[in-house]
């Protein structure tokens, strides 16, 4: 799945938080045509990262 953000800066803050939580993730181009989100996002396996990203604004895209 993909976690998408409005801000590119938030992508890297989220990457930091996810990796600190010991979860593997990867930054990839955003694979959606929805122009609301920035050009890169986080690709991750099916983990519930809601707690890890608490307070951040994001959307999950399958």
């Amino acid at each position: 799945m993909h976690i998408v953000f409005y801000s590119t800066s938030d992508v890297f803050e989220a990457e930091e938080k996810i990796k600190e939580a010991g979860i593997e993730c990867k930054i990839v181009p955003t694979p959606v045509t929805d122009k609301a989100y920035c050009g890169v996002c986080i690709q991750i396996n099916e983990y519930d990262v809601t707690k890890v990203l608490n307070g951040m604004e994001f959307q999950i895209v399958d």
């Binding site: 409005y6 801000s7 590119t8 800066s9 992508v11 890297f12 803050e13 990457e15 930091e16 930054i27 990839v28 181009p29 955003t30 122009k35 609301a36 989100y37 920035c38 050009g39 890169v40």
Partner: protein, 373 residues
Amino acid sequence: MIYFDNAATTKYKPEEVYKAFEYYVREVGVSPGRGSYQLGIEASRMLYKTRKKIANYFGMDNANVLFTKNSTEAINLFFEGYLKQNDHVIITCYEHNSVLRPLHKLHEEGRITYSVITREDLNLSPDEIVKKYAKGNTKLFCTTLASNLTGRIVYSKDLLKHMKDKGITTFVDSSQGAGKIKISITSDSIDYLSFTGHKDLMALPGVGGLCCKNKPDWKPLIQGGTGILGDSYINPDVFPEGYEAGTLNMPAIWSLNSAIGYCIDNFTVIQDKEHALMRYLLSELEKLSNVIIYDKNFERVSTVGINVAGVQSSEVVKVLDKNGVCSRGGIHCAILAHEALGTVETGVVRFSLNYLNSMEEIDTLINVLNDCR
């Protein structure tokens, strides 16, 4: 050549800073937030890491850091966005023109009013200052960390706290002294702080920024490409990109990342060396009967302003330059401080040292000044 103009720009940088710049331009060389290829992603990651490092350095508990090309642009961005019609602002008499001029322009446009805390009144207690200067419509208090003219540390945690307790937003211009005085946005009652890379933080010129305790909700200073939401006709309402239109100076930003690391790792060494140099410089200047030292008895950064009795500052600077000493005369973009010191007509000769200077260089300076009669 002896370089005593570090308050303008630190000429000599730590080797790590040069290497960081070279690494960025050679090995990365692309802009953050633009391409979604791996190198572009790495550039964006390096940008985020630098935001975080700056935030940590200034004691923030988030990474709300906006990049600009210098402190002046950050201050303009802040004032233009934050201040509203009929707001009142309090500043100190030691503010740089980068604070005075944007405020005065807003004043001339009939948008705001401002008051200047006099040099004498800075000796009052914080409570007395607040009582004397704060009004019902006072929105903002601005203070420099240190005077760029005399080196005096103006920053006062107590005064910032008193202003905050009165419901006034606080702003610190850390351009002078950011690498030399430990401050904390979270602990020291600071809402906004501007910084510049090329002075005491010892990075390359061309990067500065604004630290914001809370994410701003006001308009950006400039419109343009932000790398996100490209189909919108105006900047997106997204922090921080909506405030950073145009390509960022990433080589300078990456050099700042390295420079801050150096400042953190060597804080005590730098501080001890600069304190020793300043003690020696002040003691030697005091021995010269023809020299007037300004703000001699205040805590200071490694800057001092003087005059040679009966000689224009520009003439002293000229003589020093002929002897291989780089110093700065004139007004130093600090007209309020000159008005407070009574030196508008003569200007002041400023010596601003850093830890790479030596006692021998100070001896050379003193010998030249001794001959300036």
